[in-house]
């Protein structure tokens, strides 16, 4: 497996710095009620998991995830302005203000979206991979799954289907220790989540330090190569969420043991620091380049906030009803507007 070049490492740092800045600003905006949606699940702490694994993909591959999707969108190169505008429900948002935080997507980046029902996107991933098999293409579908989703029926049915149909899916379990507020050990009989692959005859590539982008990249590269040629693969990334399940999560305020746990992760296993230390050790004096990326992240996110706040909200019935169906709108008219004999 080739080691990542200096340019690759610097680009990973750029991505991770951008995600952290974006998420922390989102958190502030939520507290200030400038982002008003009830759901906002931040990727802070998870950065190496997404950045390291997606570095193993090529442009024609596919990506799909659950609701913790901001980081995935930014890694793929979605415009930070459009992503921030979506947080604020603006017309200029990537989903026109109709999806919000949990429903980012970009057809041009083969990003099939963030999904809001735990496990709900897993069969979609299998279906997207089926299209590649059906058409004889060797593109893979990288699918991010929370630890909690490994306990529901979608996980079982989708992994099993991917096995019997040899679908090129890399099932990445981002194990951040908690399904909402429930520890993995209280929710799953098998706590080494990657071992669930065995039940379906799927090859597991094991448990990986999800805070170390290099380790993540190495294993993802092997799994991607395997999936392209053979079929499904499972990887477990051990990671941690810095901002709880969602921003409305009060657990870190009320539970001292969890605050201590969070501090320990931030002190010992901070993904951006781990990458930074590696880059400095391997490539000497690149401090200026790293500082420039930090500065760029601040600038990009500040501009995104400015753009989003200046953008218009979608308004009116056309905006409300549009894109329910393709073609002539077949939306049920509210009774008051049903003209007699004219529907």
């Amino acid at each position: 497996m080739p080691s990542p070049t200096k340019d690759m490492l610097l680009d990973w740092y750029r991505q991770m710095a951008l995600i952290r800045e974006f998420e922390e600003i989102c958190h502030q905006l939520y507290l200030q009620k400038r982002i008003t949606g009830v759901y906002l699940h931040l990727y802070s702490g998870h950065e190496a998991s997404g950045v390291g694994s997606m570095a193993a993909l090529r442009k024609s591959d596919h990506v799909i995830t659950a609701y913790r999707d901001h980081g995935i969108a930014l890694i793929l190169g979605m415009d930070a302005n459009a992503v921030m505008a979506e947080m604020m429900g603006k017309k200029t948002g990537s989903s026109g203000g109709k999806g919000g935080s949990m429903h980012l997507a970009s057809a041009e980046h083969n990003f099939w979206g963030g999904y809001a029902i735990v496990g709900g996107h897993l069969p979609l991933a299998a279906g997207i991979a089926l299209e590649a098999r059906y058409r004889g293409k060797d593109d893979v579908t990288m699918t991010y799954i929370g630890d909690g989703a490994t306990n529901n029926g979608y996980f079982h049915e989708s992994l099993n289907m991917s096995a019997i149909w040899d679908l090129p899916v890399i099932w990445i379990i981002e194990n951040n220790g908690y399904g909402m507020g429930t520890e993995v050990a209280r929710a799953s009989g098998q706590t080494e989540l990657h071992r669930k692959a065995e039940a379906y005859g799927i090859r597991s590539f094991g448990r990986v330090d999800g805070q170390d982008a290099l380790a993540v990249y190495q294993v993802a590269s092997e799994a991607v190569a395997y999936a392209r040629e053979h079929g499904p693969a499972v990887i477990e990334h051990v990671t941690y969420r810095y901002r709880g399940h969602g921003v409305s999560d009060k657990q870190y305020d009320s539970r001292d043991d969890m605050s201590a746990e969070l501090r320990e992760w931030m002190d010992e296993r901070e993904p951006i620091k781990i990458l930074r230390d590696h880059i400095l050790a391997a490539h000497g004096d690149v401090g200026d380049a790293l500082a420039a990326h930090d500065e760029a992240a601040r600038r990009i996110v500040a501009q995104a906030v400015e753009f989003a706040e200046a953008s218009e909200l979608p308004r009116g019935r056309d905006a409300l009803l549009g894109n329910t169906y393709i073609g002539s709108p077949q939306v049920y008219k509210t009774p008051a507007s049903v003209g007699a004999g004219s529907d």
Binding site: H62, S95, G96, G97, K98, G99, H103, A105, S106, A107, W112, G113, Y115, A116, I117, G120, H121, L122, P123, L124, A125, A126, G127, I128, A129, L130, E131, A132, Y134, G153, Y154, E157, S158, N160, M161, I164, W165, G322, N323, T324, Y325, I326, G327, Q330, V331, Y332, P335, A336, V338, G339, A340, G341, S342, D343
Partner: protein
């Protein structure tokens, strides 16, 4: 053009086969669709003709059947996913309602989901409570998906072809009781046989009362209309064919003429097709209404096994006749 009588299941089979021949992106998936030749024999011979790539047996995994079809459709295929019975589609309700029907909306038109869910529906064979449902209105509750419910071979043929070609998701409900029912179908296919999404049909003309129905309810209504005619009452039978979108214009035009209406359905009575049509009529046709709207539906009870009490719960032509005589 030669026309012959074929069973509704054969009409569905022919429509599906022709669409697979016409468009390479159409494929079928579901439990027992390939080697078993289809539980209801709709995909008989498909495996041999199209091979395993396009005729895909699935495990007993309804959540995945529902969701894999969504992903494949988003990615550019045209899945026709079969639920062996509509009872099993309850297991896939999240995939159907939260994903198939909403993906286009919550990404504001970025993706399309051109899939068809086929499901065999209905009751009356002592199949017992959990296998005895005609729950189409549940699926029609949700915007983002269409629901088609044919009552005969020719309609089934034309509606399924339209459903497969349409770029929106469609739930296509096939009455098990109607599968063997013969109906005329031309030997040669012409585009005119395609039934537009949301277009209902007058199955019998009459000026005294409007019977609004779909699927099996159309048969009960036609039988009732023949019985009523012997008593000098002429019933008009409106087959809506699609529960979403609803062809209310057709119902309103008939109601303006008859001023009376009985709604007939195999489904349960609460929050139902009948409730919906009755509500729309009273809101929009109040000035034309000469009598209360009546509804004939199944009894509000889970279905028993034993034959006599099972049939007691089902609608039938006599119940339609009785309802009409209360208001004419």
């Amino acid at each position: 053009m030669a026309v012959r009588n074929v069973a509704m299941r054969e009409a569905i089979r022919r429509a599906l086969r022709e669409e697979m021949l016409r468009d390479e992106s159409v494929f079928v998936m579901g439990e027992e669709v390939a080697y078993w030749q289809g539980t209801h024999r709709v995909t008989r011979g498909f495996l041999e003709e199209f091979g395993e790539r396009r005729v895909r047996d699935t495990p007993i995994s309804e959540m995945a059947i529902g969701g894999v079809a969504v992903g494949a459709a988003m990615a550019g295929l045209r899945p026709v996913a079969e639920f062996m019975t509509i009872n099993f589609a309850f297991l896939a309700l999240d995939a159907i309602v939260n994903h198939a029907a909403k993906v286009r909306y919550f990404f504001d038109g970025m993706f399309k989901v051109p899939l068809v869910y086929r499901a065999a529906s209905g009751w009356g064979n002592q199949a017992t409570a959990s296998h005895s449902h005609a729950p189409e209105p549940i699926f029609a509750h949700f915007p983002g998906i269409y629901v088609g419910c044919p009552s005969n071979a020719l309609d089934a043929y034309g509606m399924l072809k339209t459903a497969i070609r349409d770029d929106n998701p469609v739930l296509f409900s096939e009455s098990i009781a109607l599968y063997p029912k013969p109906g005329p179908l031309p030997d040669e296919s012409v585009e005119e046989m395609l039934v537009p999404i949301g277009k209902g049909d007058i199955k019998r003309e009459g000026g005294d009362v409007t019977l609004v129905a779909y699927a099996r309810g159309v048969d009960w209504s036609l039988q009732a209309a023949r019985a009523l005619a012997r008593d000098g009452i002429e019933a008009e039978v409106v087959d809506l064919r699609w529960l979403r979108p609803l062809d209310m214009a057709l119902v309103y035009d008939s109601f303006k003429k008859t001023n009376r209406c009985v709604i007939v359905e195999e489904s349960l009575p609460m929050y139902s097709f009948g409730s919906e049509i009755a509500a729309l009529l009273q809101e929009n046709m109040f000035d034309y209404m000469d009598a209360p709207i009546k509804r004939v539906a199944a009894e509000d009870v889970p279905l028993p096994y034993s034959k006599e009490i099972e049939l007691l719960a089902l609608p039938n032509a006599q119940k339609v006749v009785d309802a009409v005589k209360e208001i004419v």
